[in-house]
Symmetry: C2
Subunit: 248 residues, 2 copies
């Protein structure tokens, strides 16, 4: 074994297209994270299709088959290919150009990056065993409400989470102090009309499932609502309770 625990890098500066091709191939073979910076065109065909004229971009190929093409602006890559794709690199001597291709079969997708010039190739090896700990999610909001049900209203009793209905799963299903059925939909942040539609679907479905004459209460729990969402709630006799995922 020649594996090193310590992170390391194999770097090529302004390589020929042939050297770049070899460097990228070697890196991919070693399961390194390979980056290529240079002038290229990009073509994609699959769920949609796109073309991009020549420009300088940063391409990253991860050992899990992910490919990302980044420009100088924006958080999102210009083009990409998801994990699990097959990457191949080759030199087109006639053009001349270095071509990086990534494909997958379901769905059928193909990404092609054609470099006319390569400024840098880096093959980066290392390890990362840690998991991210994240708080402030919808799951945290659910925990908070289940631990302290009176945050919804006095007398609220949660009976189930993820209760299935014909329209999908209800976040929290319970009863109020008068024994009426309550459907709670949780959102970690300010909500718009879509969340109201979602809550309404669940309330409707539950009324059908129970073919109850007694009405089902629907309560949206989130830090805040938009005006339109508030009107929609009122239109359909639904309620809102303001609550945040964490206590700060």
């Amino acid at each position: 074994m020649t594996t090193t625990d310590r992170a390391d890098a194999t770097i090529l500066e302004s390589p020929s297209l042939e050297d770049a091709c070899e460097g990228i191939t070697d890196g991919l073979d070693r399961d390194a994270l390979v980056t290529v910076f240079g002038r290229c065109t990009v073509d994609y065909d699959g769920r949609a299709s796109s073309q991009l004229e020549a420009g300088d971009r940063h391409v990253m190929c991860k050992p899990d088959g992910t490919t990302l093409v980044h420009g100088f602006e924006g958080q999102q890559p210009i083009n990409w290919q998801p994990p699990g794709c097959d990457v191949s690199v080759s030199c087109d001597h006639d053009a001349p150009a270095l071509v990086l291709e990534s494909v997958r079969s379901t769905p059928k997708e193909r990404l092609s990056v054609r470099f006319e010039r390569v400024v840098q190739v880096a093959a980066l090896s290392g390890t990362d065993d840690s998991d991210l700990t994240l708080s402030g999610t919808e799951a945290d909001l659910r925990e908070r409400l289940l631990e302290t049900p009176e945050l919804l209203e006095p007398g609220f009793r949660p009976l189930a989470t993820e209760r299935e209905t014909r329209a999908g799963a209800i976040d929290i299903y319970g009863e109020d102090d008068a024994g009426r059925t309550v459907v709670v939909e949780l959102k970690r942040r300010r909500v718009g009309p879509d969340a109201v539609g979602q809550l309404r679907r669940y309330v409707d479905a539950l009324e059908r499932d129970l073919h109850a004459d007694a009405s089902v209460r629907g309560i949206l729990v989130a830090p805040s609502v938009t005006d339109r969402a508030e009107r929609l709630l009122a239109d359909h006799g639904l309620e809102f309770v303001s609550l945040e995922p964490t206590t700060e």
Copy 2:
């Protein structure tokens, strides 16, 4: 002016933390795309909050204030900061460590990456003036249906796009051959329950707006529907027409 048209790179291999700090600072000052690969911890606090123990990661800082922290797996960054943030780098000699911080004020967010070892720093300069051309979008589906309305059904006449209602804007608003009002909701790909809820909101809102006794037809246009969505459509008297954004 010392600007170069040609892309170029300034690279440091296994630099000291001090040299890395200087290289990153120089790169950011020159509006380069700066990448740092090394062993680091990451902390985020803002819309949510997260911590990440030490591991080898690839950090990218773009000239527009974007920061991305990538691991060896997945298309999405482990942590990030959106465009418009302020980045600063400093050396903590006591620890010792190199600290990269990115902050923004609305909403208040802070990302802190603390390197204990740096394997590579690259400052990448270049230009990219091209725009992506993309096809197969919902806009393409709308064009297709407006150009050939009979793809929906014989006698369909579109009257407006983006027609506003109390619940939001309708994709295509029109009439059928019997003069009945038609609401069309478009989706570029297979749809689930959420799209049905959306269509339903628009149909309801339109019936109110027109306080019509005559019923309003709601038609979902997409390549296909899931089973649950199909049931929901039936439950609410809504219709489905299969159509793709492009003719392949």
